[in-house]
């Protein structure tokens, strides 16, 4: 197969593919692109290339997966500096030898590269305890559109020298620069862990559990909420409780010293008074489960036809309203999953485009009336064009546009990806 085919996006194929092995080679490829006026799409494992609009121009696929070295691990400082193409799974396997980890579990985390995780800014259930990559990222090195290498932050856990460039490049979808290196603060692996599952007939009852976990001083590692359809997907993978009456499932993962874990579990059980199912999962099942949960209700890339993936940003207390709207259109049997203590809901709908549009419009208007936000994560380009990639579009977009113009004046990095950039 022609190499360029592997990098096709929304039916468009790049003219050139580069697979640099060093940061200097990345810079060189970008200088060449600048010289030739090429539009550039940086690539990690490609699992989330469907986020944002398809690039409006696409000449060079810049594959960073060969840039995959660990540059410096300081175990006694709990920090690590790596190249952007390294896979999260590989990195965590290495850190496990030291009893440490980078506690990120984004969708498709078995394949995802560090650069891709940072560029997309997608998080996973562990965020409840450890924050997102935004909170763990302490330094970054980036190649700008003209090949200039810049860095921000460093390899210390506290640093206020200069603008916080790591924050700017996190979640920028590769439109401002190509992330080539990243430094993180690490966490010790918890001494003990356990997972409880709760099944509820009504979303309201699930909410009282998630809100009580939000204010739990033991900081549960994850409080993930799934609807019945999403739960069925997990049941295909491993042995999990089933109950036809349950509409909403909540997973509570606790970590820490054994006594703390037990306490969090006890409190979760007590807060889940309305639950029809209350189980503590066997360890081996929990571990299969947590590897799979982060990818539920996230469309793969390329997305199937007649499917739409979205994200709602609400307050944790607005989860039930989100649930009602998500399941409000009969033709769209939606799967959804939420970070229960954070108010972020990921959903996947499949059905006729016309119904998908209505579904998405309802979600968007819910987000807008509740002071939250709505974003399409995956789906047909036509739907993205019709609905707009995200809402609300506030005056801050003008500043974003100016930042883009300052750092990539020719608009060659992932052009059109954000709609306005």
């Amino acid at each position: 197969m022609d190499l360029t085919m592997r990098y096709s996006l929304n039916g468009s194929i790049p003219q050139i593919v580069r697979q640099p092995q060093t940061v200097e080679e990345v810079a060189e490829a970008l200088r060449e692109a600048a010289h030739s006026g090429w539009a550039v799409v940086p690539w990690g494992s490609g699992t989330h290339q469907g986020i944002g609009h398809a690039p409006s121009r696409y000449d060079l696929a810049l594959d960073l997966t060969r840039l995959s070295r660990v540059l410096r691990h300081r175990p006694a400082n709990l920090t690590i500096r790596v190249e952007a193409g390294i896979r999260l799974a590989e990195l965590n396997a290495l850190l496990a030898e030291h009893g440490q980890w980078l506690p990120l579990d984004p969708p498709f985390g078995d394949q995802a590269t560090i650069g891709g995780i940072l560029a997309t800014g997608l998080s996973g259930p562990l965020r409840a305890r450890y924050g997102s990559a935004r909170d763990l990222l302490i330094g970054i090195r980036v190649a700008l559109a003209d090949g200039t290498l810049i860095q921000g932050g460093g390899e210390v856990v506290k640093n206020v020298a200069g603008y916080d460039l790591p924050k700017l490049f996190h979640g920028a979808l590769g439109t401002l620069g190509v992330i080539v290196e990243a430094a993180f603060k690490l966490w010790p692996r918890p001494k003990a862990e356990a997972t409880w599952v709760f099944g509820f007939l009504r979303a309201e009852d699930a909410l009282s559990l998630t809100l009580s976990m939000l204010r739990h001083p033991g900081f549960p590692m994850a409080v993930e909420v799934l609807n019945a359809r999403a739960w069925e997907i997990l049941r295909e993978e491993t042995e999990l409780p089933a109950d036809p009456g349950v509409r909403v499932w909540v997973l509570v993962r606790a970590g820490g010293w054994p006594a703390q874990v037990e306490r969090i579990g006890r409190d979760a059980v007590a807060a889940a008074s309305g639950a029809r199912v209350k189980d503590r999962l066997p360890e081996e099942i929990a571990s299969i489960l947590w590897a799979r949960v982060p990818s539920v209700a996230i469309l793969p890339n390329p997305a199937p036809v007649e499917a739409l993936g979205v994200r709602l940003g609400l307050l944790p207390s607005q989860l039930t309203e989100g649930a009602t709207t998500l399941e409000g259109i009969e033709e769209i049997p939606a799967l959804w999953r939420a970070h229960g203590t954070l108010g972020l809901i990921y959903a996947e709908g499949r059905g006729p485009i016309e119904a998908l549009l209505r579904w998405a419009e309802n979600l968007r208007s819910l987000a807008l009336t509740r002071g939250g936000h709505f974003m399409i994560l995956g789906g047909p380009e036509s739907v993205k064009q019709t609905l707009g990639l995200w809402a609300p579009l506030r005056p801050e977009v003008e500043v974003m546009r100016r930042i883009k113009a300052q750092l990539d004046p020719e608009g060659r990095l992932n052009p059109g990806r954000l709609g306005w950039a």
Partner: protein, 494 residues
């Protein structure tokens, strides 16, 4: 441009009680807690976002630089109007607009004092985690500008990890919202960029903060060591062991002398160093964890480890740390504090270097710092009335920062670059890095109206005041000479 015209316009917006323009008033706003000074031409005290925007528009019409100031507790000169111009003081914007105990959010104005947020949240069993040592005075707006830290940021992160959204006034007077009460707003993370931008990108007029559940139990350990080396090895070992306490603070022998003579908080006077460690959270397993940490300290030859669970005893142990900077007055008339950070495994080496630098410059240096983060606070003791000592203190400070950077660290962990360290930025950043930051600044602040000459190496425009600053620092007595009376009709020099 005539001063009188500017004043007239400011008075129309702010009234006579909302503007300062006379020298004897401006004098009070010419410094913060750093060693730099610079007098603004006008000071205004807005009470609303609209007034901030109006002040910005007036400054724009007359080409005045704008400097925003909270409580003035900043340690790097970020709130010093070294270019003159209009100073916007946020202390009258001090309303807590909302506490949402269900979603753990607070919405506050920028002039709200840090500790007031925790006090307001306490009724709900919640608090605001970042706890700078000046938390009884410093404002949330200032914390956001500097991305402030504090002892308990070890476990919970610094200001940026607790700010979800902002309302800001841009240098053109436009009001803009970034982020919000929900997480993960799409698009570029402007909230993350503005936090820590030292007032150079926008003026924060409202902030959405994340609150946290208060710990149910706290245990404080005081570990006493004969040497700083042993104490810093213990810190490294605690971190490497995979235990992250709420806070690990260190005080060295000199600091202990000052603190004990001022406070009597029970640190042994002959100790080489003490560590103050908080472990907190659920009561379950907490004492086990405390004993585990005590054993690590003992392994590194701690001669004594006290474990305090009683709030009064804990408060007493902490009172020494909290009053440490103030206690330095027992040892010398002035101190100059640095804020470098090093990887935690480098602490022993860099602390030895700091002592060596002190000896070489003939200056006593006390260390009181956030050891768990590797965030040093060497306090260089001197007498600012002595120009030679002052010069040596500043030079020793710069040398300490260089040592931190060489050890793989950074210039500043929580105090900011401001005026103080702007010319040290090239130690850490290449011209390309600085150019990229300048471009980002241009996207917000194209005319460089907001806090000019801060954070980045001096430009030609800034140099003139820089040399004046140096001259001023050489003045033997800084506060006694009356400034020349200013003419009301004098041309503003910007």
């Amino acid at each position: 441009m005539k001063r009188a015209q500017v004043l007239q316009e400011l008075l129309e917006i702010f009234g006579p009680r909302g503007v300062l323009w006379e020298d004897h008033h401006l004098l009070l706003y010419e410094y913060d807690a750093s060693i730099d000074k610079g007098r603004p031409d006008f000071v205004v005290f807005p009470t609303s976002t609209e007034q901030v925007a109006a002040a910005v528009r007036i400054a724009n019409r007359y080409g005045l630089p704008i400097v925003v100031r909270g409580a003035g507790t900043g340690l790097s000169g970020g709130a010093v109007a070294d270019q003159g111009g209009l100073m916007i003081v946020t202390t009258r914007m001090r309303r807590i607009l909302e506490i949402d105990p269900v979603n753990l959010r607070a919405v506050v104005q920028p002039g709200v004092v840090n500790i007031a947020v925790s006090q307001a949240a306490a009724a709900h069993g919640l608090y605001y985690a970042p706890d700078p040592s000046s938390q009884k005075a410093c404002t949330i707006g200032g914390n956001i500008a500097e991305n402030s830290g504090g002892p308990h940021c070890l476990a919970y992160g610094v200001t940026t990890n607790h700010v979800l959204g902002l309302e800001v006034v841009l240098p053109d007077g436009e009001v803009m919202e970034v982020g919000g009460a929900a997480c993960d707003w799409p698009g570029y993370d402007l909230t993350g960029l503005i936090v820590g931008s030292e007032g150079t990108l926008g003026i924060v007029t409202k902030a959405v903060l994340r609150l946290m559940p208060a710990p149910e139990a706290v245990v404080t350990l005081l570990a006493v060591f004969d040497t700083v080396d042993q104490a810093s090895e213990a810190v490294s070992a605690i971190i490497a062991d995979g235990t992250i306490p709420g806070a690990i603070e260190m005080m060295d022998h000199t600091a202990i002398q000052a603190v004990e003579s001022a406070k009597r908080c029970g640190y042994p006077m002959d100790a080489g160093a003490v560590l103050l460690i908080d472990v907190e959270g659920l009561p379950e397993g907490l004492e086990e964890l405390a004993r585990h940490i005590a054993r690590i300290c003992e392994h590194f030859d701690a001669r004594e480890v006290r474990i305090a669970t009683d709030p009064v005893e804990r408060e007493r142990l902490w009172s020494g740390r909290k009053g440490a900077f103030g206690a330095m007055g027992r040892l010398a008339p002035s101190y100059y504090v640095q804020d470098g950070v090093v990887p935690r495994d480098q602490l022993p080496r860099v602390l030895r270097q700091i002592q060596e630098i002190g000896q070489r410059y003939g200056l006593t240096i006390a260390n009181v710092f956030h050891a768990g983060d590797g965030n040093l606070h060497p306090l260089i003791l001197f007498d600012e009335r002595d120009p030679e000592l002052t010069r040596r203190a500043v030079e020793a400070g710069a040398e300490i920062i260089r040592a931190c950077v060489e050890a793989g660290g950074t210039l500043t962990g929580e105090h900011g670059i401001g005026l103080e360290k702007r010319d040290l930025m090239p130690l850490l950043f290449s011209p390309a890095d600085l150019e990229a930051m300048a471009r980002i600044k241009a996207a917000f602040n194209p005319e460089n109206r907001l806090n000019p000459c801060k954070m980045f190496p001096s430009t030609k425009m800034c140099l003139e005041t820089w040399s004046r600053r140096k001259a001023r620092m050489a003045e033997p007595v800084r506060y006694r000479v009356a400034p020349p009376p200013a003419e009301m009709e004098e041309e503003l020099w910007i």
